[in-house]
């Protein structure tokens, strides 16, 4: 065992919730769960300040990524252009605590699909 990570400070301002952000992204349209979008993230973050994630959705025009467990949930919105190869992108994100990271894709037919991936942010220490 060891000492804790420094937690992100809470901001007093009213932040939009993950649900509000998703509704904004979809214009209130229905969001299916599962097939059509993948979100790849490590099971346990090696460092909560830089967690590698990868999103992919074939034919998607946009993918929204949220970290609902952060003091402010928005992470990024990827818009794929005409010359995008596979509709995938990887980046590194901050996670304040263990949570389900969420990805919502707008598919080629205009429908929306979401998925999530649990990432554990741990204190660390000990071992075999």
């Amino acid at each position: 065992a060891s000492l804790p990570l420094t937690a992100m400070a809470q901001d007093g301002a009213a932040e939009k919730t993950a649900d509000e952000l998703i509704a904004e992204f979809t214009g209130g349209a229905e969001v299916a769960e599962g097939d059509g979008v993948t979100l790849t993230a490590p099971e346990i973050a090696e460092n909560g300040n830089t967690v590698p994630i990868s999103v992919e959705a074939e034919g998607a025009s946009e993918i929204l990524v949220l970290a609902p467990g952060n003091p402010t949930p928005p992470v990024a919105t990827f818009k794929f252009g005409e010359l995008a190869g596979a509709h995938m992108a990887s980046t590194r994100i901050r996670l304040a605590e263990t949570q389900d990271v969420v990805a919502v894709a707008k598919l080629a037919d205009g429908s929306f699909v979401r998925t999530s991936s649990n990432v554990k942010v741990t204190i660390g220490g000990c071992g075999g």
């Binding site: 990868s54 818009k79 995008a84 590194r92």
Partner: protein
């Protein structure tokens, strides 16, 4: 303005026509989230890169709206289709109005 902001990009120099190539980008930047406090308890103001935009010969490849949850030294990896010889333009937009740009040519054989 953030100091020593320096973009680095990995793009193949050559490709075959319509090949899908892998691109990786890094830019040194603190990405101050606006969520942290200094030792006196004052909130450190937000100062981030809020947009990353990639084009090839003027056509869009990727456009990312970035929030403070993107880590220090933002990293992106993605794929682009290369229909002809030309130039990638990578542009990062800072909260403070600064714009950082990097260009890379690809020869299609």
């Amino acid at each position: 303005m953030a100091d020593n902001v320096k973009p680095r990009v990995r793009v193949p120099k050559t490709a075959s026509k319509d090949e899908v190539i892998q691109i990786k980008t890094l830019i040194s930047h603190p990405m101050e989230s606006g969520q942290r406090k200094d030792k006196d308890g004052n909130v450190i103001p937000r100062s981030i890169i809020n947009r990353f935009h990639v084009t090839f010969n003027g056509t869009d490849v990727l456009d990312v709206a970035m929030d403070p949850a993107i880590s220090t030294n933002p990293y992106f990896e993605f794929e682009a289709k290369v229909p002809e010889s030309g130039e990638f333009v990578f542009t990062w937009y800072d909260d403070d109005g600064s714009v950082y740009e990097d260009k890379h040519s690809v020869e299609v054989s």
